[in-house]
Amino acid sequence: MKLTRILMAFVLFALIGATAFATGTKEAAPATGAAKPLRIAVVMPSSTTDMAFSQSMWQALQIIQKEMGGASALELKYSENMFIVPDAAAALRDYASQGFDIVIGHGSQYGSSIREVAPDFPETVFAWGTDVNNFGLKNVYAYTAAAEQGGYVNGVLAALLTKTGRIGVTGPVEVGDAKTYIDGFVNGVASVNKSMPISKTWTGSFSDVALMTAAAKTHIANGAGALTGSSQSVVGSIGAAKEAGNVLWFGTQADQASLAPNLTVASQVYDWTGMLRDIIANRKAGKLGGDAYILTIANGGLKIAFNPGFSIPADVKAKADAAITGIKNGTIKALP
């Protein structure tokens, strides 16, 4: 019994000790200034640090907050890991009833929830994506990203740069922007070389990093000289490329150069700031919704972030720039 008690105490201390590491810094509460700050809340399906979809939105909101002058001008709140849809619906409703000015449902699975909640709060602006459907509601903005466009550019680069003449694609599940990005990528490769072999794998999961790593290694063993892929689990593919040492990486959703500084050629970055600024301005002007935003290269919502640490031969860069210009002015169609 004594042993048990000592063990109990030990376990308790270990628990507390482990959490003692977790002394994060919290931003100070918004100062109660004279002007009422704008209040934005966002509900996201994964973590704000996923290096992909959720992180891209959270970073954009923080940039906007800085621009506007910090927490006293823009109050931000978030709910992350809301992969259970009824929970997300409750969060959206709760934020709206707390009087938030703009409520963002950042996940394509939140459509039905927005459709139910938004009519009950006609004064609140709702934005959701990725989809193009605002259900005909006057206070809902829909948004999506034309992921195939950056996919096309990445495809052109990959086809020109792969040293083995072979390319691998590591995807999660063939849906949503994971599908459209890869469709664009394949089309981009084909625009350079119609007969270049591309292998595709789908792991069936958005989060299985180990299987994604194995998939990437399989591509490499099969002779792929360039890899790309989508979802938060592609960090596994990037790790595999890095381990191989000579396989190039093409990123999407967020700038992934930091994970493989020598091998990442370019990343397609979702930049939501323009759209957010627009929604904020529209709201000020009294327009609460009704539009659908599509991030494209032309409107600046999609950016191709070339990795400064990787030197691209001038002729290749020129062809990539030509592809970007072509997509911008519509002479190139990213999807076949």
Binding site: L7, M8, V11, A22, V173, S199, V209, T218, N222, E243
Partner: protein
């Protein structure tokens, strides 16, 4: 279609199989000890996550992979103590306490990751070590003898576990406690102490399994890095019929199927990806169904032991 059965493909399939099977080996062999002593630990996944995080974090801070491994083992031990405290001393329903442990590990690892690291970063984990001479054998050399230390360790653990369980008094005691705790108690075996030992040993090995994910396979940490592998490991114990060799067979079969389905996709064979991904799960059930010898479940598995009442 020609190249499906080529030498390179076969060697590639086997190499991926070896890499994928390592975490399963550690976790499932550990769970075998735990279950043989009568305790089902459904929290393996949570242990792998928390230990995997600390392994990553130690390497992230110090760059020393051995410190990472040590951190994982210590975290595994602590989680094992929690599990034994709740399930052995406090006689909790093992199924429920394991799920609690899993939720705790999942939450805690993501929380610490977010607060301490912030976003995905890579580290350099265990590097492959080529074994002299053996590593030069054509075909088999690169597959079997050019891996990292954790991989070798996982495979060495199979005969070691077998030896402990079949040839030592400790092994006998573990099995006795799992078969008939009251009888074991009556001949002077301290049932709770043996169960504490087995659960903690299992948890330490689950910790190493977590480390093999975060500092050997993926070389990074990410929320829910295991993606449910801990549960598969528990299933593999049933597949292996509580014998280390059986567990090895299960881990290799599951990983072989997974590796093969990836190769099927890479080679462009026209199967819908979701059906290919199903393959390892399906095969595991089918093989176990048609296999003759299924091992004997420890009689006192998942049963609390109340001294002097049974």
């Amino acid at each position: 279609m020609m190249n499906v059965f080529s030498f390179d493909v076969l060697s590639g399939v086997l190499r991926t199989m070896i890499a994928l099977s390592t975490p399963f080996l550690y976790a499932a062999l550990g769970e075998t000890f735990s279950q043989l002593s009568g305790v089902v630990n459904l929290g393996v996944d949570g242990i792998m996550l928390l230990a995997g995080f600390f392994a990553f974090y130690a390497v992230f801070l110090t760059g020393n992979v051995w410190l990472g491994l040590l951190a994982a083992m210590i975290v595994g031990l602590i989680m094992g103590l929690i599990m034994s405290l709740v399930s052995v001393t406090l006689k909790a329903q093992q199924g429920i306490s394991g799920i609690g442990l899993q939720m705790f590990g999942l939450g805690m690892s993501s929380l610490l990751f977010k607060v301490l690291v912030g976003t995905v970063k890579t580290v350099s984990g265990f590097a492959p070590v080529k074994i002299p001479l053996l590593g030069d054998i054509p075909f088999l050399g690169p597959i079997l003898f050019n891996n990292n230390v954790l991989v070798y360790g996982g495979f060495l653990l199979v005969p070691i576990s077998w030896w402990i369980l079949e040839k030592t008094t400790l092994g006998l005691k573990i099995k006795a406690v799992g078969q008939n705790p009251a009888a074991a108690d009556s001949v002077g075996i301290n049932v709770n102490r043996i169960r504490y030992f087995s659960v903690c040993l299992g948890a330490v090995l689950a910790g190493v399994a977590g480390a093999s994910l975060s500092i050997s396979i993926a070389n990074l940490f990410q929320d829910n890095l295991t993606a449910g592998q801990g549960f598969i490991a528990v299933a593999l114990v049933y597949f292996g019929g509580w014998s280390p060799v059986g567990v090895l067979g299960g881990a290799l079969l599951f990983s072989l199927a997974n590796s093969a389905q990836l190769w099927l996709q890479v080679l462009g064979i026209n199967v819908p990806a979701s059906l290919a991904v199903m393959l390892p799960y399906l095969l595991t059930i089918v093989v176990l169904t048609v296999a003759v010898n299924r091992g004997k479940q420890p009689a006192a598995l998942n049963k609390q032991f109340f001294r002097g009442e049974n």
